[in-house]
Symmetry: C2
Subunit: 226 residues, 2 copies
């Protein structure tokens, strides 16, 4: 992993309104530490020398600086203001990416990301240009279109996680495109630009914290891991 | 809810091999009580007078009787041997359903089923003939066909839960059909018979316990509920 530059763009842009808390969810405490500290620490531990870029809503930049200093000490994190959409936020983060290398784009709300998965994504993105972690679906799924629902073959479905990982020559030009509402994640952006997307095996405990229920689950999984 | 008969067919037919435990997962202890006791108790609490039918692999019938007596006392539960497939197992359970009424078919591995959701399914199945609990998907989803993956519009996708609930005149004739591998749940069976399937709002904490990770999550959610 020596020689080329690695970047983690950690996007914690949401207002987290589904959490029903006064504090944005990225600052909620999980075992005494703000949620967003977990992925930052995981990338720093997994890839020595990685450049850490944290994208946050503009009004949270100040408090983020204080939080990072308190909890992550002198870890070097570049804090960037997000935009209107996830696409804009990632675009802003990518302005900090200069050299040829590998870029991880990770949800700030996935605190349980493991060193193992980060490295798996790194290796596969180095080979293929992209690596998107995905897990199988264990429950029945239906398509519900205006109240008419039809079964879907779940064997073919994959739940997509992050870090969505790319070589810079794939992701940087892709994010020069005009915004399209079909850009729901980085994989869709890169595909629209004509690149192929490679799936890698994700991890079931790499959950996305969206609701208070997820905080309870994240807490239990974190305790188990220790 | 007076007048017509109600039945809960609780299917715990799996060997639970993904659990990696010596004991079938339906007998694993969750806060000191076997997993399968939770849904049985929930249906008994939600619908007074409901007939409880538990479907298990043939070799587990004896231990089930002992377990139920120890943990659920004199609650009246009919224990039935399951078949090769989920379809066969439900068929066997339905042999115990005689009168006109409402049938709930529930995964034994969903211990967190709530009284609220049971009653919601009851009301909607009474009106429409069927009620299938479903929740939205909060993560990106892709279709992966032989290594070629394409994005799916997750707004239209629904994760299907149980209890899948039906009026007897819908479910009983549907389960007279010859088995088809496309029968992945009760909704698909009923549809193949020509009936329309109605979705109702499920509950995110009504998880299906499949892996050891799910046991940790179920334990945390159960503690929170108390």
């Amino acid at each position: 992993m020596i020689g080329i530059q690695k970047y983690a763009v950690i996007v914690a842009g949401g207002k987290g309104t589904r959490m029903g808390a006064a504090v944005p969810k990225q600052f909620l405490l999980l075992q005494g530490k703000p949620l967003l500290c977990y992925p930052i620490q995981a990338f720093a531990d997994a890839i020595p020398g990685i450049r850490l870029i944290l994208v946050l809503p503009p009004d949270q930049l100040g408090s983020a600086r204080t939080v990072l200093r308190s909890y992550l000490g002198n870890l070097d994190v570049t804090i960037v203001a997000g935009g209107e959409t996830r696409y804009n936020s990632v675009q802003n983060g990518l302005k900090e990416v200069a050299d040829d290398g590998i870029v991880f784009v990770h949800d700030g709300a996935r605190p349980l990301i493991s060193i193992e998965l980060i490295r798996r994504c790194y290796v596969r993105a180095s080979e293929h240009g992209s690596a998107i972690p995905a897990i199988p679906v264990t429950e029945s799924v239906r398509l519900d279109d205006l109240g008419v629902s039809t079964p879907v073959n779940r064997e073919l479905l994959r739940i997509i996680q992050t870090p969505q990982t790319f070589r810079t020559e794939v992701i940087l030009p892709a994010f020069q495109q005009d915004y399209d509402p079909a850009f729901t994640d980085e994989a869709t952006v890169v595909e629209a630009f004509g690149a192929k997307v490679y799936l890698v095996e994700g991890m079931r405990d790499n959950i996305k914290v969206t609701t208070p229920l997820d905080m309870i689950i994240a807490d239990a999984l974190l305790k188990q891991r220790k």
